[in-house]
Each structure stands twice: as structure tokens, then as C-alpha cells.
Amino acid sequence: MAGEGWGGHSGRIVIVGASLAGLRAAETLRAEGFGGSLTVVGDEPHPPYDRPPLSKQVLLGRVRAADAGLPRRHAVDARWKLGVRASGLDPVEKRVLLADGEHLPFDRLLIATGTRARPWPQSDEARLDGVLTLRTLDDAARLAERLDAGPRRVLVIGAGFTGSEIASACRERGLAVTVAERGPAPLVGALGGTLGAFAAKLQRAHGVDLRCGVTVTALRGSGGRLTGADLSDGTRIDADIAVVALGAVRNTEWLAGSGLAAGPRGVACDAGCRAFNMYGIVTDDVFVAGDVARFPHPLFEYQMLSLEHWGNAVAQAEVAAHNMVSPGPRRRPHLTVPAFWSSQFGLNIKSVGVPTFSDQVVIAQGSLKEGRLVAVYGYRGRVTAAVSVNRAKWLEHYRTLIESAAPFPPPAGAADRPESPVPVPSDVPDPKVLSHGPTVALTGHLPDRRLAVVVRQSG
């Protein structure tokens, strides 16, 4: 299908988004022989950097935020337009509009605009000095500096992975920290009830003042500085710093009016990373990768998945880039099993599959008591995910079980779990009851919500 004129290896490619996915896509395009013009647009002034250390080593003061740059695997021959936001996409004229007025014409476009931290909803309260979010390198530098100053108490709003890692860093620094979470436990939105309860115990054992089932109703300040917060249970917290860790917002606003299936849940694309338009018709010149993408996954009933995972950004960017320069029959699907890790409170937590796509969970190896374990998740009798705590080397086994839709519960007989373990309900709450947004979201089968409306109207 690719004509000689395009050939895949010439022409103009624009990548919007200069973080992990954008960088890896640019590298892959060049590595695959793309010889045309390549422009990478990023709204931050920094060259691509690595986010996982920002909530870990950087907050502990072990690594400076400025040193979190992503290693370049190869020098990438590209024009980097950094510090400029993309403001629109004209799919007919095939050009990206930039906030500085420039128009970037393209033959193929990769959307990798990722997410940003969900801000505190009350904008006057959000402006108080001491109210922070953590997403970017500048955020991390600011927060680390505030922690260096020795605040009397840090309030973390939201006990997802980011919130929990921030709380962990505070405790490791010896700082008093209160965590407020609307859901019943930390991490429950990603890992379900069993490991949520484990995480709650863990946080309390490390001295976190953990408040679950509450919301922060107001942030209080005096003279423009944060002084504390009111909780929905009527209690009040005094704090110098509040870190808003309510999850992420997908950067899709700039695509309004582009006709693409882009909205708050991300930009829908097919297994080959090609964007859908709002009618569910796949485009052939606009591709999507990374946190901003929603893509169908065969292991999860072809539901559209949104993943905020480092590994997904890399894998999907590589597939997208490959497909951007390859004729149809040589294109590859993005099929990797989702995986992520976190380190907090001295533990290494690692996940494969989608734990929220489950109805049951079983501790297949180790035990909650030891704090070393593998929890395996099942949905309707097949294995869909596994989460390890300080047992990451076993996950490869469970990845294979997930890929092959092996029966759940997995066969007994593990050396470190001799008796037959009993599955229990996985207790994954509705994301609506959580403070923190889920880092994995199953978002149904349709590429666009508007399409559902259209179908209903015509029916």
C-alpha cells in the first residue's frame, strides 16, 4: 500500500510530545532508516527526562532533578522544538499548530502528549504557597526543595502510587506526613482490596498518619501560605505542604476540533497505534503512543486500555514508530502485557497484566505476613495479572500465564507456598470512589464516547 513516493522512509514526521514516548519513537524512526525531516515538539523547556526517579530518589535528595535526563540510546537527528505547546491539529491540511504561531506540516504525525498532574479543583486554594503537584522535573525540584526545608507536616492528598511514594520519601526523611484518601485503602484502585489492606498496614507501620474514607474539603491558608486542611470527617490537619496526588489528566485539549477520537480518557487508536477519528474510522497518518493513548488489548476482551506506565510508553512508541515507516503487511501490533513497578517503604512492588481486570485474587507465593509475596489475579477463571512484593523475579512465570490465558487459580505447588492457597474476591473499587485516578484504566470498547451517542440516536 505504501507507494514509492512515500516509501515510509522519506517525507516529514512530526512528534508532539518530547518525553519518554516521543524520544523513543524518534530514536526508533531513525534506527529504522527514516531519512526525512523529523521534528519533536515539547511544551517543557527540558530535553526528555525520566519520571520514575522524580517521586523516589529525587525526593530523597539522592539525585538532583536536573540529573534525571533520559539517556539517549543514539544521537537523534531531529529538530527539537522545546518549550512550545502544540495548540491544534488541522487534519485536512495536515499540519500541527503551535502556540508560538508556527505551523508544522507533516506527512505523518505521532501524538505522544502524555498527561499532566490533576490540579487541585479549587483554584484559589491551589494557588496557596505550599500546595504542589508532582509530575514534571520542575515539580520534583520544587518539592524536594520544600522537603529540604523541613516542613512540620506534609499532607498528601490521594494514595495512589505517586501519593504513596511521596509519603514514603517523607517518612524516609523523617518528616511527619498525613495521607488522605477517599477510597478504603492506599493503592486499592490499582491493586484491589487484599494488597490495599496490606499497603495501609505498611504505611501505618512506617509512621504515616493514614486517613482513608475521607476527602479534603478545603485547603486553608493564611497570608497566601498553606496552613492546613479540613477533612470530610470534620477533622483538621495542620500542614506546611500539601501535595495533590489525584492522578493524571490526559493532554488532549489541543486536539479539540481535530476530528480525532480524543477526550478525557485519551486518544483512541488501533492495535497498530493508528488514531481513530470520532466516527471510529482509523486514520493512516496520525499515530498515538504513551500515556495519552487508548488502545485495544486482546488479553482484556479488546477493551481500550489507558496505561500510565514507563514500559508501555517505550514499547508503544517503538511499535508506533515502526508502523509509521512500514507498509501495511509489515506493521506490528502493540500487544505487550502491561507492567509497572513502584518502590515505597522499603518494598519493591511490581505488576504484570491488569490487576483491576479481575474478580478474584490469590496469594500464590510467600505471604502478607512476610511482606514478600506474589498475588495472582483472575477474571472468570483465567489469570489476568500478578503483583509481586519483593519477589519480582517470579513475575516472568505469571506473565506467561497471562499471555496464555491460563486457568485461575494457578496450579498449587510453589516451593514457597506449599499449602493450597484460597482465592478471595479481588475487591477492585469503582474508580469513582477514589481520590487518585487509576494508572490503568479499562475504558470500554468504543473509540469515542460521541460514537455511543450517535449509535443511540440512530437506533
Binding site: 500464590a364 505447588g413 516451593a415 514457597d416
Partner: protein, 406 residues
């Protein structure tokens, strides 16, 4: 036929120099039951599955018929390499504390200067010699000096270490037609003697730490405390033997491979930055540990369409998996710049080689220094004479002539 099973042919010394055609045959056969009831696996994906399967035990005491495998172990409990989780995990973590991350992240990197110095001293001693034995003159003394220094074994005791190690390794020889019982008993005795020696040495460091691993193991304790005395003995033996034995073969196999591929040798001289990748390729192409002989399922386990019964001996032929064309493109080609090279040179899964970071930097430094200082080396005989063990495979001698060298 019973004397001619594939496993017998693989372990037969006659095939030591080139077992790879037999490995190809093994891969063709899939998971293969041998006449003695053991199962042989040589395909990459099946080996990977078994190495990560929590139902596969590394503890010979779970074999239905441990036979004389226990003799090899001697009077002591198994070291962590022969244990399963959670015991394996606990001991390995205690031993890791003074060796690597997260508690001692810089330990191995800090040895870079010492290893380079030792390598250069050994090479300096070649001067004036037209013929050298790369094993005795270089590949053996380098890692043994390094591991003894790291553990805290005095240099003058190296000859004992060598004798004990040889006996222990001989216990891993499955060559048919020889008397394995006698060798395995000797291996057990050597292991016990070495353990008592190391226990005494460690005891002398108690309260008198001297910066080495034995001192750390008897003086320092993490949240999980220290190893018991038998655990200390058995794991110290493991570190000492595994800490040099396999590296000798890695270095020797490395030079042998380079000498067989003059284009590669020339390229590595021009592009020394390629050496880390070349070492990975060596670990795939000529791995020092060819097979893992002592795994067994704790319950019936299906692999490659075959059910391996609980307690049956399971032999994972890593070197065959490393050349599986279903995993590696052009697997019999030595490509020092190979990408996507997730080999089994250090195993995989929870028993993944403890000393891998040390082996990697030793091999990189050793081979880089040899290439830098050995002008026009020439292989005297090809294949060279091999050591007996089919498990830890490598040349016994590697004679090299230095034609017109300085």
C-alpha cells in the same frame, strides 16, 4: 541403547570440544525423557518457562531418587544455590548485603582498578615467552586472585583452594563408564574440608573485621540477622568456587572464540567499546555453565507438551537454549554487536548468577587487556584439550604462540 542416550552422548568427554550438534539434536527432540527417567530440555522458551516456574525445585532432596547426588553435597546443608524460596531468598539476601545493591552498590565497580592491575601484572609476566598457556598463566590466576581478595582468603592458600575446587568440580562429571560414586564422595569431602577452612578463617575475623566479605558476614547483620555457622560454611564455599571457576572458562572461551574469528578480534581492537556487548555474546555463544543438572518438579509440571513427573531429574541445557533459532537469529554466528541478547549465560529467574556483575567486569577487563597487549597471537591447537566437566565446560589449556610479538 541405554548407553547411548542423548544425555550420555552430551556428557561423553569425546564431545566436549563441540557439543553443539548434540544440542541441535536435543532441540529437535523437544523435552526428552531419557531412559533413566530424567528429562532433558534444550529449547529456549521451555528453559525460560522452567527457570521461572515456582514449582521447580533446585533442592536435590526433592528428587524421588536422589541417588548419589547427595554424596556430592557432603555433610553440610546445601548452599542457597541448592535451596528453594523462601530459604534461598533469605540466605541469598544476607550474602548479597556486603556484595551488591541495595546495601553495597559500589562494591564490585570499586574492584575495577585492582582487576586491571592484576591482569596487567599477569600479562607483564608473558614478556619474553613465545608460548603461553592462557589458562594457567592468565585465565585461572586472575579470577582466583580477585575472589580470594574479595572474600578474604590469603594468597598463600590458593593452592589448597585449587585442589578442593578441582575435586568438587569433578563431582559434576557425569561421564558414563567412570565411577561417579567415588568422585562424588571425594567432592563431598573436598567441600567439607573447604567449608571448615573457611569457617576457621571467618572465625578469626569475628571482632577483627578486615574489609572483606567473610568479615562482613560474621560481623555485620541486617534486619534478618546473620547466617548460622553451617549456612556460613556452605555459602562461603559456594562464593569461593563459583566466584572464580566459571570466570576462568569465560575468559578462556572468550580468547578461543576471538582467535577463531580473526575479523572479530580485529574489530574489537579497533572498537574496544564493543567489549561489553562481545562478553554478552560470549555468554550466549560459549557459556561457562552449559547445563543445570539438578532441578526437579515439586508437582507434575507440563512443559513443551510433556508432563514431567514430580521428583524426576530435570536437566536444563542452557547452552542449547542459547543457540535456539526460535529465539536468536543466526544462532551459530558469533556477533559481538548482537542486540536483544537475553541469553542464559547467567541463568535466569531467582537463581540468576549471584556473581554476574563481578564476572562481567572481570571478563571485560581481562579480554580487553589481552587484546591490547598480545600482538598477533596464534592458536597452537584447535580444538584445545578440554577439562572433563560437561557442566562447567572450558579448555584445560589454551596454548597461544606470540609470533613476532613484543
Amino acid at each position: 541403547m541405554s548407553t547411548d542416550t542423548l544425555f550420555h552422548r552430551i556428557t561423553d568427554y569425546a564431545h566436549r570440544a563441540d557439543p553443539y550438534p548434540l544440542y541441535a539434536e536435543l532441540r529437535e527432540n523437544g523435552v526428552a525423557r531419557q531412559e533413566d527417567g530424567s528429562y532433558l530440555v534444550g529449547t529456549y522458551h521451555e528453559i525460560a518457562a522452567l527457570l521461572h516456574d515456582p514449582r521447580i525445585s533446585s533442592d536435590v532432596r526433592h528428587l524421588t531418587d536422589p541417588g548419589d547426588a547427595l554424596l556430592r553435597v557432603g555433610d553440610l546443608p546445601p548452599s542457597f544455590i541448592g535451596l528453594d524460596d523462601p530459604e534461598h531468598d533469605r540466605q541469598r539476601r544476607i550474602v548479597m548485603r556486603p556484595f551488591g545493591p541495595p546495601h553495597s552498590p559500589g562494591r564490585i565497580d570499586a574492584l575495577h582498578g585492582d582487576i586491571t592491575r592484576i591482569a596487567r601484572e599477569l600479562i607483564d609476566a608473558f614478556r619474553g615467552k613465545d608460548r603461553i598457556d592462557l589458562v594457567d598463566d592468565f585465565a585461572y590466576p586472575l579470577p582466583v586472585t580477585v575472589i580470594c581478595g574479595l572474600l578474604g582468603v590469603p594468597r598463600e592458600d590458593v593452592p589448597h583452594v585449587r585442589a578442593w575446587t578441582n575435586a568438587v568440580i569433578a563431582g559434576l562429571d557425569f561421564t558414563p563408564g567412570t565411577d561417579p560414586q567415588r568422585r562424588r564422595r571425594a567432592a563431598g569431602e573436598a567441600r567439607t574440608a573447604m567449608a571448615h577452612y573457611l569457617e576457621e578463617l571467618a572465625g578469626s575475623r569475628r571482632g577483627h573485621p578486615s574489609g572483606d566479605l567473610l568479615s562482613a558476614l560474621v560481623n555485620d547483620a541486617g534486619p534478618e540477622g546473620q547466617l548460622t555457622t553451617p549456612e556460613l560454611m556452605t555459602n562461603a564455599v559456594l562464593l569461593l568456587i563459583a566466584g572464580h571457576e566459571t570466570t576462568v572458562n569465560l575468559i578462556t572461551n572468550g580468547m578461543l572464540t576471538f582467535l577463531r574469528h580473526p575479523d572479530v578480534l580485529a574489530r574489537l581492537r579497533d572498537e574496544p567499546e564493543l567489549m561489553p556487548s562481545a562478553v554478552e555474546e560470549l555468554l550466549r555463544y560459549e557459556p561457562p555453565v552449559q547445563l543445570l543438572p539438578q532441578r526437579t518438579p515439586l508437582t507434575d509440571v507440563e512443559v513443551g507438551g510433556i508432563t514431567v513427573p514430580r521428583g524426576a531429574p530435570l536437566v536444563l541445557v542452557l547452552a542449547a537454549g542459547n543457540r535456539d533459532p526460535l529465539r536468536f537469529a543466526d544462532p551459530d554466528r558469533f556477533d559481538p554487536a548482537r542486540q536483544d541478547n537475553q541469553h542464559f549465560g547467567f541463568g535466569s529467574g531467582i537463581h540468576n548468577c549471584f556473581g554476574a556483575p563481578l564476572a562481567r567486569i572481570e571478563a571485560r577487563i581481562a579480554l580487553t587487556e589481552l587484546l591490547r597487549h598480545l600482538d598477533t597471537p596464534r592458536l597452537v591447537e584447535d580444538p584445545p584439550p578440554y577439562r572433563r566437566s560437561p557442566v562447567l565446560r572450558g579448555p584445560r589449556h589454551l596454548l597461544v604462540d606470540r609470533v613476532g610479538g613484543g
